[in-house]
Symmetry: C2
């Protein structure tokens, strides 16, 4: 009875916080849209990007709507209608957050360019505010959806897992499709524009330039947002599932409370972001870092209050602390390995002296090397959580994941602002704004590159904790007593699981290649067949490039996407629940390391090129720069397509398994 | 009592077979050394290679002797003197096999060149015979050492594990040091010779040309031989350890018997290798394949006889069959993914049209994709072995590994012959032999490239089965009852384990870069300071390049080498036996996939370049060829250093754990 009161109050509090965040959203949207949106040219370019983004999302969501309906029917028939309902709600909530984030991002870009005409701080504020809309949309929609379901289904978490599955499905296609789109457009535009025609980046004569700008948003706003929406929802669901038996049922509400106080902390943190004119890269990074650290500190204070009020053990406070420290630690090391102010990336650039081959070898070596710190951090965090959790060890691991993600409202903001600044630079370039404006947007863009790399490290780390927690929840739900490593199907399961991330990465990399090739052909065709493009007398046909990127990205995402849904079901039904647990674990550990390597190699190559562009080793146009461009191109699908898609793979396979946990049993091929 | 008689007879039979193989060795050595060793120039070049190879091995073995003595003392003090004795014998046996193989290889190269002056068949026979000396030395020395220890220690397999550890230690340094040497010399020679000075490969004016030729032998003869010596010994030890309780003790002798009949089958197979003049690449490959398939068939016939005579279940015959089929299956798929007559490699080459970046992306994608078949094959083989083995499932897995390696005497021969043919081509080039001779050695060399790729796939597959069997033996020896996947230290162990192959690969790739850079500086110095090299009036100073390669390879192998020995001990003593089991399993599954990817990407890039060199896409010197050279250079440390070194990493860590299994307990940091 007392628990019931606490439960109602706690979930009600979380719901109220979600509503509060919604109010922030409405206010912030009004502010951003109310900003000056530049001159005629700027508005035209922005309109083309908006149109392209809308075209992509509309087609993607049309496809997804079909997918969601089919899967919902399957769930309703084979499992329960409540899960199907949650599934649909999760898909809608994730989709809505992505749509809103994109909607704002493609409108904030031109406003950032206009604001940067006034001052660096104005530019930063517009870009960051639009990023915070994405961040807050993700956490508030997620929390809102799950708390409503909680009340609706009287706290039965099993039904709410459907919400996570729905969010995962959207995330899969948003990340994979978006990742293919963004790199296909980028590579395609570069290969013909820069290499063959010798025109600079973001040149309006390039027919693929709008597709490239759309791609930045599709990948890093909608894709990243959906990825973290999934992690955020999944970590809460996993912790609540495992928490049902913890501390007389208080365990089930603790994740919601930690998430809720995190939203408040993030809200406060967003108000700390402002920059002085002439601020250096270091200063700007300091500004963002300070706001994230402040939010982290606030989460701890609030969590302490929560622990005191609801009267659970202080060990759970320590667990949240472990999660927060781990998340920030991973971010710090990611930055170390990928920032060009540090040795690893400079070392890659220096290898350009002996050509692109040695630069690529060094980049791969740095990426591989960079897996050490995040793996150790996650391993130690898990051990600490298990130790602190005592009998509730697995719940503690899941709660650490919630802690890591609690400040997502602001960490995602620092990330989602990147493409806005990138686009703002493109618009400034295309509409011939003064050089000082471009310098300011470049400063913002360069900052965005660093935060994007950090954000990727954070996304991977949280994906691993979430996936592990979901797997633990799956094991519980499937009634598996012990998972004997030397059991009959466990090692085969682990082997197959460890291979899946490689297969998934191979498929997505090949997909980028195919899609980029179609863009290359179209751009070449336009240069050949439309007279006057190079002389600026005729505008190229941007729309066809956008349409081709959209079509090919959606087509190419289907096979890897289906793989992620079908393989766990296939293994589970054929070889049984034990084999599936092995496969999940193999995929999680192997996918973690591969994802970190791909993201960091890619980020480091990108910044090695940027470092050379600052003038070292001969600067732009030198042989060293050419070698670095090759590295950057190899890194593009690494860091923006395949690497991030692995986060989704491991989480989605885990949640599919959790949703269908009760159905697998010993498997059809029950040899043992 | 009856068992004792059977036991003595069986081990005695294995010993007799080992002696028979020794006799074959002596005869074959006499035949190869008795061949015509060419004209004065050829002999001089060969002498330089022989001298360089001897210099490397002498320095390496001096270092290793110190290492072996120190470790032997540690083992004697902390464990038992018998294990230390076996350890030393294992190290000596592996070292002796490697030394003999190298000794012959660097003498057979010039004789192959001389024989190729007569006919293709003569050349093939000399090269293949020298390869078969390496193959037979490995299996006979291993079998001889272990059977002698068996009689000495009255069948106590625990003592004989030391033999495997000794072999592993040699393998580690031979593979890692050899891998660094061969690629540092190769890359260093190419970067200055081909790229800066514009002289062809194998040009005697290149100061690093002898070091490059020495490197081929150091890496692919001594390194590969030590690798497979370890797999061969390890698989027998693991199976015998697990077999002690199988079929009233007959399980312990079955692996020795399967290995012994395999030696006989391989011996017969070697007599089937001969080629007609004008034989195509396909024909030559057919010749080698036919002899391997014949040996495999013979192993099955002989194993059937063994099973009938000693009266164990026919299910064990089926297990050996599974192992053989799996090994050949992995070889087949490796060839498919890396041969330029097939789609994947041609697809990589075609990407050269849009530059080196797209070619590299495609190569990585093909390498990742190629992990699917071997993983599925091994997973299915393990499940079949577990199913066939019933209560003795893990023994059956180990026995499948013995079956896979039973024909090693001949499979290794087809592999070790590669560098001989490669060197023969170099000698033909440097001593201006007629073009038809070079054409013949090129045909042999090209064949060697294919067999080398197949051999690498086979080496990895067998390493995985061996490592898994050793890990299972470790779990038994450490008295671990169940390995609960969700236990406190298991997931952290798996995570750290999965990361280790990446760290190891990163360290070895960086090592190649550093060592190659030292060669580059020396070669540049010689071209600058020694007048008349380019005009062929002065000979370059080959010896200094050999000395630098030797020094840097030995220096760079120490850190990754120590890592492989120290990390399992550290984890075992700190976190306990359970965590170590998790770590081993994580390393095995992750290392398997990464090793396959690296080996196959590297092999495919190499052959993509070779395909372009046959004249497609503009042929040699075209832009496509230049792009393919970049891919090939990236692939060099992949396929010849880091990828193969991962085999050793997973086996060595497993056997270190097995040897120290009784000492770990719950770990010092016993938090749980």
């Amino acid at each position: 009875m007392v628990i019931d009161m606490i439960e109602t109050a706690a979930i009600g509090f979380a719901l109220a916080v979600a509503v509060l965040a919604l109010i922030y959203l409405v206010v912030q949207i009004g502010r951003v849209l109310g900003m000056d949106n530049g001159n005629q040219t700027m508005q035209e370019i922005a309109a083309a990007i908006q149109e392209g983004a809308a075209a992509f999302l509309n087609r993607e969501y049309t496809f997804l709507a079909g997918f969601v309906v089919v899967v919902a029917i399957i769930i309703a028939v084979f499992l329960e209608w409540q899960i199907a309902f949650s599934f649909i709600l999760g898909a809608i909530a994730s989709g809505a957050a992505g749509y809103l984030g994109m909607f704002i991002a493609v409108r904030a870009n031109v406003r950032t360019a206009a604001a940067a005409s006034k001052s660096l701080d104005d530019g930063l504020r517009v870009a960051f505010n639009s990023g915070s809309i994405m961040g807050m949309a993700v956490v508030s929609f997620s929390l809102l959806g799950m708390t409503i379901l909680y009340f609706l289904f009287d706290g039965d978490i099993r039904y709410i897992t459907g919400f996570g599955f729905g969010a995962s499905s959207i995330a899969l296609f948003a990340r994979v499709g978006g990742g293919i789109y963004t790199k296909a457009a980028d590579v395609g535009a570069d290969l013909v524009g820069k290499v063959e025609q010798g025109i600079p980046e973001d040149d309006p004569r390039n027919p693929a330039v709008i597709a490239d700008n759309v791609g930045d948003n599709v990948g890093d706003v909608a894709g990243m947002g959906a990825d973290l929406f999934e992690s955020y929802s999944g970590s809460i669901i996993a912790a609540a599932t495992l928490g049902a038996v913890v501390a007389d049922g208080v365990g089930i509400i603790l994740p919601f409370l930690v998430a809720a106080v995190g939203v408040i902390a993030a809200l406060i943190g967003t108000f700390l972001v402002r920059a002085d004119e002439g601020a250096s890269q270091e200063d700007l990074l300091g500004v963002l870092r300070r706001s994230i650290y402040a939010a982290s500190a606030l989460v701890l204070v609030f969590t302490a209050a929560v622990v005191a009020i609801i009267g659970v053990g202080w060990n759970f406070f320590a667990v949240v602390l472990v999660g927060l420290v781990a998340g920030n630690g991973i971010g710090w090391f990611t930055e170390y390995f990928t920032s060009y102010t540090e040795k690893p990336t400079q070392g890659i650039a220096q290898k350009a002296e002996t050509g692109s081959a040695t630069l690529i070898i060094e980049g791969l070596a740095v990426g591989m090397h960079s897996t050490l710190p995040p793996v150790l951090i996650v391993a130690v965090a898990i051990m600490l959580a298990l130790w602190l959790g005592g009998d509730n060890g697995l719940f503690a691991v899941a709660l650490a994941g919630v802690g890591m993600l609690s400040t997502l409202g602001i960490t995602l903001a620092t990330d989602a602002y990147g493409p806005v600044a990138d686009n703002a630079g493109g618009i400034a370039e295309m509409s011939d704004l003064p050089d000082e404006v471009r310098d300011r947007t470049d400063a913002l863009d360069s900052l965005g590159n660093t935060t994007a790399a950090t954000g990727k490290g954070f996304a991977i780390g949280s994906a691993v904790l979430t996936a592990l927690a979901l797997m633990a929840a799956y094991v519980q739900a499937a009634n598996i007593d012990t998972l004997d490593l030397l059991g009959a199907t466990m090692i085969p399961g682990l082997l197959v699981g460890a291979m899946l991330p490689y297969l998934f990465a191979a498929l997505t990399m090949t997909a980028v290649g195919k899609a980029a090739y179609e863009i290359v052909l179209e751009v070449r065709r336009q240069f050949a067949e439309i007279p006057g493009i190079m002389e600026r007398t005729t505008k190229p046909d941007y729309k066809t490039c956008v349409a081709i990127s959209t079509q090919s990205a959606l087509r190419e995402m289907i096979v890897p996407g289906a793989l992620a849904v079908v393989v766990p079901l296939f293994i589970g039904f054929l070889l049984g629940a034990q084999a599936l647990a092995g496969m999940l674990l193999g995929a999680i550990v192997s996918g973690f390391v591969l994802a970190v390597m791909m993201a960091n190699s890619g980020g480091a190559w990108d910044n090695a090129k940027k470092w050379i562009e600052t003038g070292v080793m001969g600067g732009k146009g030198s042989d060293a720069h050419k070698a670095a461009v090759v590295g950057d191109t190899v890194g593009d699908p690494f860091k923006d397509t395949s690497g991030p898609a692995l986060n989704i793979l491991i989480k989605l396979m885990s949640i599919v398994s959790l949703v269908f946990a009760s159905e697998f049993g010993a498997g059809l091929l029950n040899m043992f």
